[in-house]
Symmetry: C2
Subunit: 696 residues, 2 copies
């Protein structure tokens, strides 16, 4: 048989699962056929039988669906390369090396998951989203021409020619730091090398960002990093498989310059060089965090080729070295809103190779950051048929609402109450903090759980179990549950006022000046401190939850709907909130309880998706561009919604199961003027959006 | 009149000197018409009447050649912008501002030189070449939209939009260091700014490399730098006019690691970190040199946006941070041969802005560097109808031969004799060094001149004039002339042997062991040292000149010609050699004396041309790519030519004028075996290329 035969006589090859099919000249290797037909089949060595990335599973027999019969002689027999590979490293039964196997007749070739470049990686955590692999960095094995006295040319030019000839990669460029080691590497590899090529987008000119002697049979890695105001979390991912090999977090050292975002902006405003100091601090922390994670995973820095960052706008600016001062005042102008493609040297991330690539997701607006973009990428409201509400709760809540037709976003200044700040016994979520609360509606007795212990406080052994950590305070999710339970138990009324001991019928209510507090925990170790929920605590949470609710409500107004089909709570705090209690408290608009879920660390997931996929980067850039940004600060209706949302909506029925309780929209309640404590606010009865029965 | 009129009724505008012509709608400004018709008319402010770069000189009257009559009402009358500009800054008579003047009827518009972007800048030095301005960096004034709370976007995105809208510059990128100052600049300029856009090539995506508040009415600059083994020379050029505003040179501090290239390569080979030390040294010297020049010219670093480097391959590698060790051994592989586009931060050139662009010309081969490429750019053998021989003399001579059809290049290991090294009384060209020598053929008495003094040694006042510097030694050009004159005076024979005092008939010949020396200067200040030309000196020069000649001869062979139409001597040394004496000594192939010239610092000129013109960069890249590289080390004929070239060809006729003397090709002489002193060499009579009468 020759390649000159009529096309119809050529073997028909069908690749699964892609469905790519076509006729190829007999003798074509499976790898060549895959490339020609656009089937997704990996190869690092370029068909030299070294890398084993191109393993395939041929199928034989009758395929009526495809209209072919595949005989066992449709493929060439095992050659010595396959024999040797099988002997040394072992091939799974039925597997062939695509670069060695020649197509001689009609055949169906299955490309197993691990041989696909663009494989979908299913996450192990149930709350994680699958990632379609489409990494920006890929390895290519090349054989480079040796220097020739008669034909002088540079090592780099010969490498570039090899990439063009062997990988069809034209016009590649090279990072100066890689050029500086190229001579040594090429000679050490005896004029063979494995090259890491990075593309900033699918149509970008590829750039050599790393090179190793000979064939590199080891994975390459990238970091997905979420730089939060409080904590920095990083995940080290295998850029071929998408697997997270190690993760860790540290406190953001910028906390010493200011607890929350605005105090850090103030620090930058008031101190010359203050922004630079904060930039240096976060970069230093990142270097240490990267080192710690890499050591844990036993991964050398040399193999870490990219880092993707998500962060709120202030963290974004301080990371990149941009002055955040403009973000502290209207019109909250970003220095740069779009995604950024940089190098580790640009950001002083000295733990990484100088040539390691940095990608920072785009910001959406001055208060809606790249972290929110990452949440959107993870939760994809822009692909949703439902009306989806995404809430990333923090000092600023970032709120996204929409569906495949329209997506809107805003931020809302919730303040730090949800993080345990401005709460009398509040603290960060840490071992010893009360995180779960239940109050018996009859006895008004509380029981609770603390972080670091799986027992409830009324269970046997609790005291021993918490002996180490103590019971140190109450964290954000704890205060939400405590207040919601106090409302359900009738300790707090609709306006948020704690009744007196007589009114409530419990000695756990104690007077505090002119108001009352509820004793959540009386310390029994001789210390006099008690963990209380005070009237002021409730007021602080009311302000925070009103802001959150008002922001969400504003987006619904702009969208022109009352209906939320689905709510996803994102962020470290969001993932710990009890949806039931959040609804009971009126933090979020009404929604069926079973349609309220936590996305866990959605921003981190989005960062990992962007790390693993150029298509994901392209997607989020496109989506961010068309998101409708709503500025709450200049929107009069936001104030209206805010004021109207102050009440605690739960209709008191202490004996009913919470899951059966009828929740009503905040907006159906009028708010007593005493409730806000923040001076004059407009009040008005609103009757548009009453709803019922959603909480089931 | 409206824009809807028939095209034939529209005004015809003709631009000179470009000859661009076409009809435009009446009311079109001259600047718009120039852009539309492709006439070269500068503008920084984009037509806002601020920059005055678009001045034109309209002509009125009958233009039979163009077939039009231009009436004075063909242009709109002076508007208030022009009135104000003339009042405040003055317009030359007959000049108009192109952006303010509207075309109403047929007219001829002359664009004066200073209003052309791509002007040809004629150099003031007679040996300098004209430069066609086509700079990589250009300024653009923009008005940027203010941030809007309702339409959040980044300052950078709004600037990019402004560049697209106002300058049709799409997809611009920005250097991170510029992004970091952008917010401040835009606010300082009240949302106007002048942006420096850099393109690496004509079709490159433009990059913002600097930004200033408001309209910047000041020039921008670049450095053209020649990093030689011995000296580093830099010229600071105005990137708009092409003018050199200041120049200076320093010794290359790498000399402490090794005098010549090969000793520096050895240093890198033998000392761990040795290459890095040399890299650090040259970069530090560059930073100091840049600072000195900028201070001299009162130019702030902020306005210096680019630096172009030329250097030999070893200097090239050490500048860029590449290990030069491979250049010390066959096959002399370059790490990178092509031109390099980098930033000041990549090279640690801390005096410059981090975003300042670096361009390094391409190397031609392992021994033929970017300095030679610069010489080619300056002298353009590839555009020559004549057969042109370019010789850049140094420790390695870089030799180029060819014409518009073919260009060949090689290097030849001349050794350091031409730089005064390995010569008994040799020294660098510095005040006190003998640089010119004449010997009376009758009396054998020498006379000479020293660097730093215009008097000959036999003129009145010479002793006083050199009292400060003394007469310290003999430099490269001095030893050439001394030996040529000794040959002409019959002191030295064809084989290079100095005769005895008796044979020569002069007491100035003194015995030195078994050979003789010639006393060029007897110190009269009580010191016993004499400045001699020894037999060993002559042998050293013979080796050097043989290598040079053999390299040139090899290129002629490869080219298939005996004829050299024109010779250009380049390099610091080349520009000081007397062509007559070089021919008499047989350093270079025969050529009419009036066709032998010095290009002065041709490498520096080439660097300036590349600095001022993207077209020049494109040209040299294209030429270097197609140059035929000849490697002398593996070419047997090079050895033959080398051996055959050892004789001193001048036919002895001491009484004839030098200019009338018949020179004969080196190759017509057979060489005594004693002459080389370097062991066994092949010798053979060669008769092919005798020539005569060329030295006139």
């Amino acid at each position: 048989m020759t390649a000159d035969r009529d096309d119809a006589c050529r073997p028909l090859v069908i690749f699964t699962p892609s469905g790519r099919r076509g006729r190829v000249p007999p003798g074509t290797t499976v790898l060549e056929a895959a490339r020609k037909l656009g089937a997704d089949l990996d190869s690092v060595c370029g068909g030299r039988g070294i890398c084993s990335k191109c393993q395939v599973s041929p199928s034989f027999g009758e395929f009526p669906k495809h209209g072919i019969t595949a005989n066992v002689d449709a493929l060439s027999t095992w050659n010595e390369v396959e024999e040797r590979y099988n002997r040394v490293r072992g091939l799974k039964p039925g597997r062939r090396l695509g670069c060695q196997t020649k197509i001689l007749g009609d055949v169906v070739i299955d490309v197993p998951l691990e041989s696909q470049v663009h494989k979908q990686v299913v996450r192990k955590q149930p709350d994680e989203r699958p990632v379609n692999m489409d990494p920006a960095v890929r390895l290519h094995y090349v054989e480079v021409a040796e220097p020739d006295l008669q034909e002088p040319s540079g090592d780099w030019e010969r490498l570039r020619d090899a990439l063009a000839d062997q990988w069809d990669v034209g016009k590649a460029t090279i990072d100066i730091s890689v050029l500086q080691v190229l001579q040594t590497v090429l000679r050490k590899g005896r004029w063979t090398a494995t090259v890491a090529l990075h593309r900033r987008s699918a149509d970008d000119v590829p750039r050599v960002v790393a090179v190793w002697p000979g064939f590199r049979d080891a994975p390459i890695f990238g970091f997905a990093v979420d730089v939060g105001s409080t904590t920095i979390a990083a995940h080290l991912c295998d850029l071929t498989t998408g697997t997270v090999v190690a993760s860790a977090g540290v406190m953001n050292p910028q906390i010493r310059f200011g607890e929350d975002l605005m105090s850090r902006v103030s620090f930058a405003m008031l101190n010359k060089g203050g922004a630079d100091d904060m930039t240096a601090a976060v970069r230093e922390a990142l270097n240490l965090l990267f080192m710690e994670i890499a050591e844990t995973a036993a991964v050398v820095p040399d193999s870490i080729l990219e880092a993707v960052f998500v962060c709120n706008p202030v963290m974004h600016h301080l990371l990149v070295g941009l002055d955040p001062v403009e973000l502290g005042q209207a019109p909250f102008a970003l220095a740069s809103a779009g995604s950024l493609s940089l190098t580790a040297r640009d950001l002083g991330l000295t733990f990484l190779k100088k040539s390691a690539q940095i990608y920072v997701l785009p910001c959406i607006a001055g208060h809606v950051g790249a972290d929110c973009a990452a949440v959107i990428l993870a939760e994809r409201p822009h692909r949703s048929s439902d009306n989806l509400l995404l809430v990333d709760v923090g000092t600023n809540a970032e709120i996204v609402f929409g569906n495949k037709d329209r997506v809107l976003a805003c931020s809302s200044p919730t303040g730090p109450a949800f993080e345990g700040a401005q709460i009398s016994s509040g603290q960060r979520a840490a071992p010893g903090a009360i995180e779960r609360v239940r109050i018996n509606p009859k006895t008004k007795e509380p029981r609770f759980r603390v972080i670091g212990c799986t027992l409830w406080s009324d269970e046997d052994g609790f005291a021993d179990a918490v002996a180490d950590t103590g019971i140190t305070g109450i964290c954000g999710s704890g205060i939400i549950e405590a207040i919601a339970e106090m409302r359900i138990a009738g300790i707090v009324d609709r306006s948020g006022l704690i009744g007196s001991a007589d009114q409530v019928g419990s000695a756990l209510v104690v007077p505090e000046g002119r108001t009352h507090s509820y004793v959540l925990h009386e310390r029994i170790d001789g210390q006099s401190d008690r963990i209380l929920v005070t009237q002021a605590d409730i007021r602080a949470v009311q302000l925070a939850k009103s802001a959150l609710y008002a922001g969400a409500r504003l987006l619904l107004d702009e969208f022109g709907t009352d209906g939320v089909d689905r709510i996803v709570l994102a962020g470290a705090f969001g993932s710990h909130i009890s949806p039931k209690h959040a609804l009971a408290l009126g933090m979020i608009p009404d929604c069926r309880l079973d349609r309220v879920s936590s996305a866990g660390n959605a921003a981190g997931t989005g960062a990992r998706m962007a790390l693993c996929s150029l298509a994901a980067r392209s997607e989020i850039n496109e989506v961010v561009h068309r998101i409708e940004k709503i500025e709450t600060a200049v929107e009069p209706r936001f104030q209206e919604h805010f004021v109207n949302a102050n009440a605690l909506p739960h209709a008191v029925d202490p004996f009913a199961e919470l899951s059966k309780i009828v929740s009503m929209s905040n907006a159906t309640y009028n708010v007593p003027s005493a409730a806000s404590g923040q001076g004059k606010r407009r009040r008005r009865r609103q009757s548009s959006s009453s709803s019922s029965g959603n909480l089931n």
